[in-house]
């Protein structure tokens, strides 16, 4: 208890500027919002509650991570069905079969049951070697079948034949021999909830997005909620860009996130994660200097239609955070998360409790403040 309190206090960061509330008021609000609604000091900062313009009614439109996790999500999802989102093998098979574009599936490595997309076994070093030679693959993503939020992913950039063996080079420039790689794949990835690894194509992103930052696949994250009558709403949409030299676009790892006008697909306000200490608006990408305020996301209409369709056909999970990449030919569904975090969304789009979302929650029997 004392440890938890200490940790919380360490995260308290009181702001001092002409736009900020007084430090005493910030402290009082942090304590009150924490005790009453379980907002953490990090959330207080992420949602910019310290600004004078954030009055009490505005703050009350936000939901704390605790409220989302323990009061709302629990009733919107059947935990038994989460496998279709958290198991990448099932995810791919399910959405692909309904015509939703997902990254091209190359194969599944598992010591007992691995198989390639063309129906050959993929259970050991020999299978792996024969498969790469047969398919002529040069690049691929390797993802833990039950991995979360990009953890444990490896991107192989080049594969060359070397005297009866293969040499694989990952994006960090590390060299692997087939035996070394297969040895790693025998172990279940840390924190993965399912055994095995899937192999997928490396997505080529749309030139307009590649121009902004070419080292990361810059993705859109959208939240969908399905109402009891089957209609799907889109309460949040955020676009993330990685920094030059980084191969992830994650906001928590230094990327920039932009709010999206959901009607038009045009980016509006952008910012870094406030945990990095910079709370200013970002109008241009800091490395490529491309103006992102007003930037049109390619294939926005198709992208929205795709996630609405995916959300509709996912039984028993009414609320999903989707990661979507945009290729030169259209949107590609990368991942769906039933355990989405509200921090990125609410930081960029404002509080969840607008009239439309309140109505959705009421339809599921929630009492909303």
């Amino acid at each position: 208890m004392i440890g938890k309190l200490k940790r919380s206090l360490n995260n308290v960061n009181l702001h001092h500027s002409p736009e900020s509330k007084s430090k005493l008021r910030q402290l009082r609000e942090i304590l009150w919002l924490g005790l009453r609604y379980r907002f953490s000091p990090i959330e207080y900062q992420a949602y910019r509650f310290y600004l004078q313009e954030k009055d009490f009614p505005d703050m009350m439109t936000y939901l704390s991570n605790y409220e989302i996790s323990f009061k709302i999500r629990q009733r919107l999802i059947n935990p038994k069905m989460q496998a279709m989102l958290t198991n990448k093998l099932l995810f791919h098979g399910f959405y692909q079969s309904y015509g939703i574009p997902t990254p091209r599936f190359y194969g599944y490595y598992h010591q007992e049951s691995g198989f390639t997309a063309d129906g050959h076994p993929l259970k050991n070093q020999e299978d792996f070697y024969l498969w790469i030679k047969r398919a002529g693959l040069k690049q691929m993503f390797i993802k833990p079948c039950g991995g979360k939020q990009g953890s444990g992913i490896m991107a192989i950039n080049n594969i060359i034949e070397n005297g009866g063996d293969l040499i694989l080079e990952d994006v960090r420039g590390q060299i692997w021999q087939t035996g070394e790689l297969v040895e790693c794949l025998k172990e279940e990835a840390d924190g993965a909830s399912y055994p095995g690894y899937i192999f997928q194509e490396i997505i080529k992103q749309h030139p307009a997005l590649n121009q902004v930052n070419s080292t990361s696949v810059n993705c859109c994250r959208l939240l969908t909620i399905r109402r009891p009558n089957g209609t799907v709403t889109l309460p949040f949409a955020v676009f993330r860009f990685g920094r030059s030299g980084h191969y992830v676009d994650s906001w928590s790892q230094g990327g920039i996130a932009y709010d999206i006008d959901r009607e038009t697909g045009i980016l509006t306000r952008g910012s870094y994660n406030p945990q990095w200490g910079d709370t200013h608006k970002v109008s241009h990408h800091p490395d490529s200097n491309i103006k992102l305020e007003g930037f049109q996301i390619p294939y926005w209409k198709e992208l929205k239609e795709m996630v609405i369709k995916a959300a509709y056909i996912t039984p028993d999970i009414r609320s999903i955070g989707w990661d979507v990449a945009v290729s030169p030919h259209g949107p590609i569904l990368l991942e769906g998360n039933s355990l989405w975090s509200p921090i990125l969304y609410q930081s960029m789009n404002g509080g969840f409790l607008n009239e439309e979302n309140k109505e959705t929650l009421r339809q599921y029997g929630f009492k909303v403040r």
């Binding site: 093998l89 399910f94 598992h110 198989f115 039984p315």
Partner: protein, 369 residues
Amino acid sequence: MVKKLKRVLGNINLHHGPDSKSKMRQLGEIMWLGLKYGFSPIEYEAYRFYLKDKKMTEMLTYMSNQEVTSKLRPLIYDERMLVILNNKLLFHRFYGASGIALPKFMGFFHPESGFTNDTLPLRNLDDFKRWIQREGINQFFVKPCGGKQGFGVMAIYRILPHGNSYIFEDAEGQEWKLEKLIDGLSLRAKETRYSGYILEEVVEQHPLLNRVNQSSLNTCRLLTLKLPDNTVEAPFAIARFGRKNSYVDSWSQGGIAYGVEMDTGKLTRGSFNPQWGTTRTDPSHPDTEVNLQGLSLPYWEETIAQVKKAASITPGIKSIGWDVAITPDGPLIIEGNSTWSPIAIQSLNGGLLSSRNRDNLRHYGLLIR
């Protein structure tokens, strides 16, 4: 405890005949096998342990249901992956994507998120009417998405226009108004582990099997076991036939089952489930009198190849009982059961613990007898 003992004692059926052991010996064996290995009196009878030629060494090659459930299953199942077999929607998408032959999937009914194959809504009466009209549907099976062993399955054999709606005729000739069917499905959609119902084609069985009994889909149950070297073996199979006018072939619901010679697909000994009070063996089907002993199942090689392929790509589940229908064009896998019952399989094929199987199971850590 007393109730359980009473129930167990109520199931004891001591045999009297020139081939039977003395009643005292039967009683002694029932007590001893029950206390030491968990065999129930029903299993004692099903395995014909009461016969004089059943020596103790042979009896100990059988595994009791309790041993299979509590000792074997925990060693050979990764619980996380059972969803692939237990959820019929994911079963279809996973095995269908890997080229396994399955009955044609026609849609998913769910009052909140049902959809047809082309992802149009299938949630209510109007959606259903449109679906029947658009696709010209005349027959289908309705199966609870999380149902097991045929429970809750409904066969719709005829659809007739009725005013501006439809009337259905089920397998027993009973007529249903479409409105009543939809109300029933909507009401019970959330009763099983996974909500909703899948809609599947009515499978046409091979003429040879249809001749034996045409009112039921007569299926085979094949057991697969993944070996320590990750190859798959199919050590046992039974073929099941329904009785006249019954639309299920299940052994536990009155059907007759036959052992199958794995190399040739020829039927061997047949019997009813001893719970129906008879352990007599029948060379012919009791209603149509088609001689079954020695009959060769069509497409046997293909049937074995299909279940082996399906088992080889199923991660984390080393033993599965597959239900397979044989059509005029080849086998179709109806479902895979991780919790297969050993009773029918051992009754008709002998004990699971052959020396070969015992070695394989020992590899997984099963140290019994």
